[in-house]
Amino acid sequence: MPEKINTSLADKSGNIDSFADHYLANEQLLNLLESTNTGLWERNIITNDAWWSPKFCELLGHSYGELELSYTFFINHLVHPDDRDLVYDAFKNHLRDESIYKVEFRILTKSDGYRWFESSGKAWPDENGKLSKMIGSITDIDQKKKYELELKRNQFLLAETNKIANIGGWELDTDTMEVSWSQQIFESDKMPLTSKVEINKALGFFEADQHKTIINAVNDAIDFCKPFDLEVKFRTPDSSITWIRTKGIPVVDDHGKCITIRGIFQNIDEIKTKELNLQASLDLLGDQNKRLQNFAHIVSHNLRSHSGNLQFMVNIFDEDISIADRTEIFTNIRSISESLATTIDHLNEIVKIQTEISKELKPVDILQIFKSTQSALDSNISETRAIICCDFSECPIVNYVPAYLESIFLNLLTNSLKYRQPGRAPRIVCNSYWEDGHPYLTFEDNGSGIDLDRHGEKVFGMYKTFHKNTNAKGIGLFITRNQIESLGGTIKIESTVNVGTKFTIRLV
């Protein structure tokens, strides 16, 4: 369209003096143009004289002829100060390399302040071939521009918010099973910014043990339109592990079919790591607390029985009794004091196990410890004609406290010999192995066994004895358990009366 005007202008350029005249002369064309809400302008590049069409004036809220016919006036008084350079640069570039002149800038209107306009135009040469004038048009783009700016601002705000919250978005097309994700995921999680990735390939970004959870969640979302909210371990391309929270919401079509899953992807590594640490501390504390409580109970119970007896004897002493009785009671008091000392020694031993946090773990040769323990019990073993087999080849070395392992073997061996089934030579089998990354020991005998239905809970308790054996003290297994648990291990017992007993120990 402007081409035509320009052509007509060029035709008449020779005999028309003022800008206005040749526009107004072609009234029909002008009317047509002005009816499109487009204002026309012309500027003499050399003199900076200008002409503003009636519509141009109207768009700025002026009546025709009210505006000074000067480009200098226009640029200095009507164009927004911040946009002057922009307008000027566009003009300069256009003259230099004929780049398209099309600028969006703010112009001061008569009563409505600055409004956004788009101005475009073209420079034309005079008869000498020199660029002498520029002709162009303006349109009011205020509303559009404001929406655009608002959108930009919102996008910026969203991007910033996402960045601050470490959130990105993703979308899964359930038809193609392809996933795409936002710039934010690319930035914060160092994901490659490819357009779409097949879900199985995307799954590869997660730790192997998380795949099942994710697949189930996605399948549930697709099949049952069930949203999900997961915390999963994500492996960034540089192979570091990051905790991610991902929520997915199914988008359902008119037929109730899930066509897309849309979701967010939030980096929660810091908070999750803290949570896990906190949970670990809590577990540790809970565990310690339980053991402390248990210990307090043991202390109270075992000291109470002695103090009770002492009080008992003292009470009787106060009664009207004979000298002989007094001597007898004193013998008892002495005996109580000895038991009390022994109990306190035992308790001390337990306290030592519980509090020796800085226990030195070192590689221990299990076989060597076993053999040395065995030789310490040599006379008992030959006396009972026990047969002892061991195989530590699957796990020969373990990081442990040597003294504890020795004590564990000593207690278990002693027990097996002590509680052998009468009329049967003890057979003891001890093995070590690895399972799920933990070293294990099993210790099995063919002794008299114990009724776990009756005594199960108490086997590892303090001063719990179950047989008529007079040298049973009920301290061995209690210490064994404490030693094992203090190093983070566990001990389990299986037993059948008259058949034998098997201990399974997870060392660490």
Binding site: H301, G308, I336
Partner: protein, 135 residues
């Protein structure tokens, strides 16, 4: 102190020798009862009770400890509930233990055949009271 005529035999089931000695001594000082049976665990006491030969020697009161090897106080009560009707005699059972654990105390109180739960040591006055209650 007068001898309670209807309490002729007392039974102590406890593996704590000193406690048994003390109880025995106190009973004789207070002249509470002429005969005393003692067993180091529930099993031996149960064997005695169910043996028909001992029909005439059955105790009137049993002082029962909780923590004992072989058969503890709870196991003893399980058996006692089953055999008591065959004994042909009312026997008062007191559970006596140094345990102040609420679980133990409540458990004992919930056994109808246990007349009372006494925390060791038993004072002379308390012992007399227990005898009078059983008489």
């Amino acid at each position: 102190m007068t001898l309670l005529e209807n309490i002729k035999t007392v039974c102590v089931i406890d593996d704590d020798k000193i406690y048994v000695y003390g109880l025995k001594k106190l009973i004789s000082i207070k002249q509470l009862c002429p005969n005393l049976l003692e067993f180091p665990n529930g099993k031996e006491a149960m064997d005695f009770l169910v043996n028909p030969e001992n029909q005439s020697a059955l105790p009137d009161i049993i002082f029962l400890d909780i923590n004992m090897p072989v058969m503890d106080g709870w196991d003893f009560m399980d058996h006692f509930v089953k055999i008591k009707s065959q004994l042909g005699k009312k026997i008062t059972v007191y559970m006596v233990s140094s345990s102040i654990n609420d679980d133990d105390i409540n458990r004992a109180k919930n056994i109808s055949d246990v007349s009372d739960y006494i925390v060791k040591p038993v004072s002379p006055a308390k012992l007399v009271e227990l005898f009078n209650l059983a008489a």
